[in-house]
Amino acid sequence: MIKLENVTKVFPSKKGKDVTALDNVTISVNKGEIHGVIGYSGAGKSTLIRCVNLLETPSKGKVWIDGIDLTKLSKEKLRQTRQKVGMIFQHFNLLKTATVYDNIAIPLKLLGVPKSKIAERVVKYLEIVDLVEKKDSYPAQLSGGQKQRVAIARALSQEPQVLLSDEATSALDPETTNSILELLLKINAELGITILLITHEMNVIQKICDYVYVIENGNLIEQGSTIELFTKPQQPTTKKFLNTISQRKLSDRLVDELKLEGRVVRLTFLGENTGQPLLSKVTQQFYVEPNILTANIIELKNGIVGNLVVHLIGNDQQVEQSLSFLQEQGVEIEELGVN
């Protein structure tokens, strides 16, 4: 549904030092899925999402939406195609001087929706975002979450096939973030809208994304289904992002201290398999004593990932055997304190 093909974006700078914001990036979002791009500020994710509806024109590469190459379109055709692509923003971007109702109705009017249908559409989408009773309020009278709901209703009212979310939850508190994420899940499920979002918050990826791209310095450094990324992260940056959502990281000093006896490993399980039965087997079969240091379960959109950091105490051979046993059982193992 959305495809960026070898997209490169270079911002020319007067001092002769051009900035490459995106370097040969390819992404592909299937119809009806939610894909997320995560990266630190300045990584190029904003440029990436703005390339999708050509708010930024890529220096090189192609942008496909629903089989149309946007980079080849005339200005007028591009304008029409943009109507199929909704977008929401970190700072909501509503008209301050217009009511909630008008904020949705004005774009519809400008896009040529017949007058008789506008009221019906506005109410329909305000109902979806659960804000009908606020239709005569002005944005300044709303909370951040409510403003974002208006912005979502505005985007949806144009009945797009694709929704782009540019850090839509970054200005919101955690509770409001969750309610907006749930709303995005709902519109994805009920209206079948394909969503591409960018974020720097791993919990956004965790809660709603099917597929993740990690971007750093304009390069895609890692990508995969959310489950893959949570169970087998490869790049240090990806691991750092994972550390932000759960207490995955132990201090180096603690790990070094523990390693004086035995080994410290992180075990990642997929599914409801909590790991507990496996650990008791390890004790029975290999006489290794596992001491659980941290444990958590992360609920992803499409599954559950369990995470245990365990101090395995026993002789080297026993520990080695127990680790290969765990690996056979499909457990991902990462040894901590190894440089």
Binding site: N53, L55, R79, Q80, T81, R82, Q83, V85, G86, M87, F89, H91, N93, L94, L95, K96, T97, A98, I106, P107, L110, L111, Y138, P139, A140, A151, Q158, L164
Partner: protein
């Protein structure tokens, strides 16, 4: 007192009428020209979708040049041009051309800065929706800038009233002319005082109306 009123009331009435006429007509033209200039500047400024260095610099320079000329000089400098445009260089008609030339670039700058304050994000959101540029100008930029534009026009109106006083020098009439001719040249200090008080009341009134209107349009 009664005799003062009887003697001067028709003259003051005439002067106030002239002042209002000059301000209203020149304001109308200046706002029209000012908005157009401001929109051209906003659209062609570097970094905008329609950026055009040549057009932007041309109008930028033009506005700066005109604004560099003090009104009193402009008034005489433009006499031939005024005569060419309206057929006379004196009276209310004669004053309007230099008043517009003086006020339009000023208003253009004021409106330009009001438009620049419109949240770029909103404009971008509307671009992303596939809405046409001219629709964005009307329905986003001018709409959102309305409270700021009203305040800017309040300021512009008040300085126009000031400028009309000088227009008295080309025989345009009005309150300034009255104060100058009777109050200053003929030592009728009463007339001077009354004129000043009237001007204070008018300026206060316009400023209050402007503030109130802007506050009502502002929704945050």
């Amino acid at each position: 007192m009664q005799s003062f009123i009887d003697q001067w009331l028709p003259i003051f009435y005439e002067a106030i009428k002239d002042t209002f006429l000059m301000v209203a007509i020149s304001l109308a033209f200046s706002v029209l020209i000012g908005i157009i200039l401001a929109i051209i500047l906003i659209l062609t400024r570097p970094g905008q979708p329609l950026q055009n260095k040549f057009v932007y610099q041309f109008f930028n320079l033009l506005i700066n040049v005109i604004r560099s000329i003090p009104f009193i000089i402009l008034l005489f400098f433009m006499l031939p041009f005024t005569k060419f445009i309206v057929g006379t260089s004196i009276g209310v008609e004669g004053a309007i051309v230099p008043l517009v030339v003086n006020a339009a670039p000023y208003i253009a700058r004021l409106i330009e800065s009001s438009l620049l304050e419109v949240n770029q994000g909103v404009i971008e959101a509307y671009r992303a929706m596939g809405i046409k540029t001219h629709q964005i100008i009307w329905n986003v930029m001018l709409r959102e800038a309305r409270p700021a534009i009203v305040l800017a026009l309040t300021i512009a109106t008040i300085s126009l009233i000031g400028a009309t006083a000088m227009a008295g020098l080309v025989g345009a009439g009005g309150l300034g002319d009255l104060a100058y001719r009777f109050g200053h040249l003929r030592y009728e200090t009463d007339v001077m005082y009354v004129t000043v008080i009237l001007l204070i009341i008018i300026v206060q009134g316009i400023q209050s109306i402007g503030n109130r209107l802007a506050a009502r349009m502002k929704k945050d």
